[in-house]
Amino acid sequence: MIATAPEQRAVGRDPAALRIIDTDLHHQLTNWEEVAPFADPNFRHRIVKRGGPAMARHGYKPVGAPFGTAPRPPSGAHPASDPAWVKEHYLERYGVDLAILTAQPQMLAIGVQPNPDFAAAIASAYNDWTLHRWLKPYDCFKGSILVAPQDPLKAAAEIDRLGDEPGFVQVLMGSAGEVPFGRRHFHPIYEACVRHGLPLALHIGGEGAGTSMPPTAVGYPSTYYEYYVSLPQSYMAHIMSMITEGVFQKFPGLKVVLYEGGIFWVPHVMWRFDKNWKAQRAETPWVVRPPSEYILRHFYHTTYPLERAPQAKYLHQVLEMIDAPRTLLFSGNFPHWEFGSPFDMAQELPVGLHRRVFVESALEVYGERLLKPNA
């Protein structure tokens, strides 16, 4: 049962009583009229429109059932559009005590919209809507401050505007971008994250839309599933960029959560990176530790979807390589269960890891804010 009784709200939750923390719930805004009170008056006419603001999308669409076996309301409404319904039919049904909201797919392309000011205005309105519609009424939901990094100073200002609002527990950017995220003009965003004690979350999905680079390093794939399989390339490039450009030297407290990228590629990056650093570190003399140390210390990964290895022992080896008891977080990806149930997927993890993945690591990454009331 979700702790929403007044006396529990006042003192916060008991971490020992938590069963599952879901770090990735894609809440959905379906009626953009709801955003009207929060939209910048100068952009309101472009944001509050039937179907939402005109935003650049990519052309990749899954065939088949996008929601898989996720619970769906009989009304035919979007499964993640009504917080009360999501609480009852997803959280309570599956024993999820806390879920971090990570916005709808369209919003994950906010960082590759051509107009930086319009993108920032959409993100701000969306954040306020999330706060008032989902977070203030429900302590079981936690929020992500969505930012558009095209104008990093505006993004930092948005983090400052909402960073002390107790319902928000992280900053969210799409992983699609115009350049790798280590570049120095992005650093004010990371500085703002650290200033407010907020992890930075990156989520795939905007790749190939708007002003993004092509979704793969060699260009545009033809099909959705080719597109989807290739997406960890974004994370590889961002990790290398953020480390070589000294982001973690400048902001040693910064944590980065990578959503929906899997884990098997991580050891490859760690050790290829270390090997070349030994010979070529002179190019980046501020990178004073082997890159794999920064990766293990600063980056976190999520369970949906885990790669499906043909033998369990392969998965167990990779879990050991990435220090999964510390670095792996449960993600439900509700309601986008196109690759199966997130709970079935997590059952492939060794039992000894479950408590770490379902609860403890998330508490370490997000800290006290997770346990406190939103309002």
Partner: protein, 117 residues
């Protein structure tokens, strides 16, 4: 084992080096501003003849986006994979535990000796 005369001081000018063979191993003798150092000619990475590498400096640990080039003449760069070593200690610049074997050097009467333990 023991002490071996391997060169005269005049043979190796400052900045120069000489590769010698002592007790079935190759040793590089380096002259850094009048001080002599002896390194085994084996890179701890994959066994390359490291003492044939370029002698240079390197960028010192620094703040982000700062470049401070230093240790000119003191860094030996392996010709195979570019790992850099401090000639005075044999230690790599990225991990002091990764090091080229070094030997004590004695200079007496214009003659250079290395001591093989």
């Amino acid at each position: 084992m023991g002490r071996h005369v391997v060169a005269t001081v005049d043979e190796i000018p400052p900045g120069g080096r000489k590769i010698v063979k002592v007790e079935r191993r190759e040793v590089g003798i380096f002259n850094l501003d009048g001080r002599f150092y002896a390194l085994k000619n084996v890179c701890p990475h994959q066994g390359a003849r490291v003492c044939l590498g370029k002698v240079s400096g390197t960028t010192l640990p620094s703040g982000v986006y700062e470049f401070r080039y230093g240790l000119q003449g003191r860094i030996l760069r392996c010709p195979w994979h570019g790992w850099e070593y401090d000639i005075t200690t044999g230690q790599s610049v990225f991990d002091p535990a990764v090091r080229v074997v070094t030997y004590p050097v004695i200079v007496e009467d214009g003659k250079i000796s290395v001591v093989i333990p």
